[in-house]
């Protein structure tokens, strides 16, 4: 009950926030890039598969780069509105358990990332049809694989829960952008090197990307979801015990 109340309050707080705008902007950047690639490519290879290329390359750019940064940004913004006017002392003096506030933040972050990921999924379809219209040689690429795109997008999102949980804790714990964004940049940076290493199978910032790799996909989803839930519980456990000093 108290979690529903906290979620209801969170939704109102999103009004007019940058967090709610940025989730629309980033998918457009990826889709625009894809659109120009499809439109301007000089000659397509004979085995070129429009839908397959669009789907994997868009979602992979998203999974390894855009989405982790979006998570860092969104969680920092979501919690920034609490830090900026020292809201914790007000919220935590209300008759609402602190864990409800914490989990509401996690769920709203997950929700925003879900919306953003599915905006990208929708844009992939739009870009596909646009490319078929502009480049007649692609016109018989077949029907749009709605199911496959939705499935990949869902899995990328599920595998991101662990990153979301880490960033929610970090951005609640430290006010301002430097530490949350620094964490996101460091996480993404090391992902470039961890990708080819064995540890890449378990590295949180690579899990969304790993769903595209055979032999790593199952681990990515299990670790993403279960690890995300466990990390959220541990983060919450730590956060609710803190003294509210500011």
């Amino acid at each position: 009950m108290s979690l529903l109340r906290a979620l209801h309050a969170e939704l109102l707080k999103l009004k007019r926030t940058l967090a709610f705008r940025v989730i629309f902007v980033l998918p457009f950047l990826v889709a625009t890039l894809q659109f120009f690639i499809a439109w301007r490519t000089k000659r397509f290879a004979s085995d070129f598969n429009l839908w397959e290329t669009l789907q994997t390359s868009s979602l992979q750019i998203w999974a390894v780069f855009m989405m982790p940064l979006l998570i860092a940004l969104v969680t920092a913004l979501l919690n920034g509105i609490e830090h900026s006017d020292r809201q914790w002392k007000h919220i935590f003096a209300l008759p609402v358990p602190r864990y409800s506030i914490y989990f509401a933040k996690v769920i709203v972050a997950q929700g925003l990332i879900f919306i953003s990921t599915f905006i990208l999924a929708a844009l992939i379809v739009v870009v596909g049809f646009a490319a078929m219209y502009l480049r007649p040689e692609l016109a018989n690429s077949g029907p749009a694989p709605y199911g496959a795109i939705a499935k990949s997008a869902s899995l990328v999102w599920l595998a991101s829960w662990l990153i979301i949980a880490i960033h929610t804790w970090v951005s609640m714990r430290w006010a301002g952008f430097p530490i949350p964004l620094g964490t996101g940049i460091a996480g993404t940076f090391f992902a470039l090197f961890a990708a080819s290493a064995a540890v890449g199978k378990y590295y949180p910032w690579l899990l969304p990307m790993n769903i595209f790799l055979e032999g790593r996909a199952t681990t990515a989803i299990v670790l993403g979801v279960a690890g995300g839930i466990i990390a959220a519980v541990v983060g919450c456990w730590e956060f609710v015990r803190r003294d509210v000093l500011i």
């Binding site: 109102l12 007019r16 007000h90 609402v96 509210v244």
Partner: protein, 308 residues
């Protein structure tokens, strides 16, 4: 009478520094309780412990007769609080800020208009808070605290940072609350003059310790008005007045401070000094400042300790 707030042996340290030391507060229903102390005396730390925002290292807090530990959620339904500066979302309107808290409380929608009306913000309710003046922000903070019709309202330095008009407005508002809404107000301040005007009971905290607790009238009888005397021959004057039975201290600026109450006392003292051919150049009755009260209370306390 039921105790709304009761603390027993409440203690909190920050590192080696003891912020609140063995605090025993007792606040009963009705009226305004002024929690008075200089900045850094431990007022905010004590208030945060009352609200369960920080945990005490020793002692316990009871609200409405029940320990806060284990009953926080149900007790906080009966409490409204404004701790230091108001916590507002500047990107939302005044009404939306109240709506956020209303949703968290699960309270009825129609409480919002009442709260806005109480703090006279109905007209500006649909403006964004970033456009609000400091006084309006403070009133909205008070509206957030009043939203759930609390029985106990805890306000930490509610007039801090306001301009004179804002202070006046806030003070009037707080003074009305007990009568109009039957709420007991627990208010902290570092200004005696502030608290004197609205509080019926007072607790004085200094360096984490409670120095005095009781009705304002009791504090006032304890605190004699001081007669500030400027005289050229200070030592002879002290000698002369002490012999006549007056309580004399050195005051600031080389003046003397004499424990006198009335203007008749002032006349008597002036005559006495003049008769002894001492040259008086200044004589005035002065209300004790908070500093004087601390000085008296701390002196009394250490004297008491020595006696014990």
């Amino acid at each position: 009478m039921e105790s709304l707030i009761e603390t027993r042996g409440l203690t909190r340290r920050f590192g080696a520094r003891i912020a609140v030391d063995d605090l025993n507060l007792s606040v009963s229903a009705a009226g305004v309780y002024g929690f008075l102390g200089p900045n850094g005396a431990g007022k905010t730390t004590a208030i945060r412990m009352l609200l369960g925002l920080i945990r005490p290292h020793a002692g316990e807090v009871r609200l409405f007769g029940l320990p806060v530990a284990g009953n926080r959620a149900s007790l906080m339904r009966r409490v409204g609080a404004l701790v230091e500066s108001p916590s507002l979302y500047p990107h939302l309107t005044g009404r939306e800020n109240l709506e956020v808290t209303r949703r968290l409380l699960g309270a009825h929608r129609n409480l919002i208009d009442g709260a806005l009306d109480t703090v006279k913000l109905t007209k500006d309710a649909d403006r964004r808070v970033r456009e609000y003046s400091l006084g309006m922000r403070q009133r909205l903070g008070l509206a957030l605290a009043l939203l759930n019709k609390p029985e106990l309202l805890i306000l930490d330095e509610p007039t801090n940072g306001l301009d004179p008009a804002g202070i006046h407005e806030m003070r009037d508002l707080i003074r009305r609350l007990p009568e109009e809404f039957g709420v007991t107000v627990f208010l902290s301040s570092h200004l005696l003059s502030e608290v004197e005007q609205i509080a019926s009971h007072i607790g004085i905290i200094h360096e984490g310790e409670l120095l005095f607790q009781g009705p304002l009238s009791e504090l006032q009888t304890k605190q004699q008005t001081q007669l500030i005397v400027g005289v050229k021959q200070i030592d002879s004057a002290i000698d002369c007045l002490t012999k006549a039975g007056w309580n004399v201290h050195h005051s600031v600026d080389g003046m003397l401070s004499v424990g006198a109450k009335t203007s008749d006392d002032a006349i008597r003292i002036n005559n006495l000094l003049v008769e002894h051919r001492l040259e008086v150049f200044h004589i005035a009755l002065a209300q004790p400042s908070l500093e004087d009260i601390f000085l008296t209370l701390t002196t009394n306390q250490s004297a008491g300790r020595r006696a014990a």
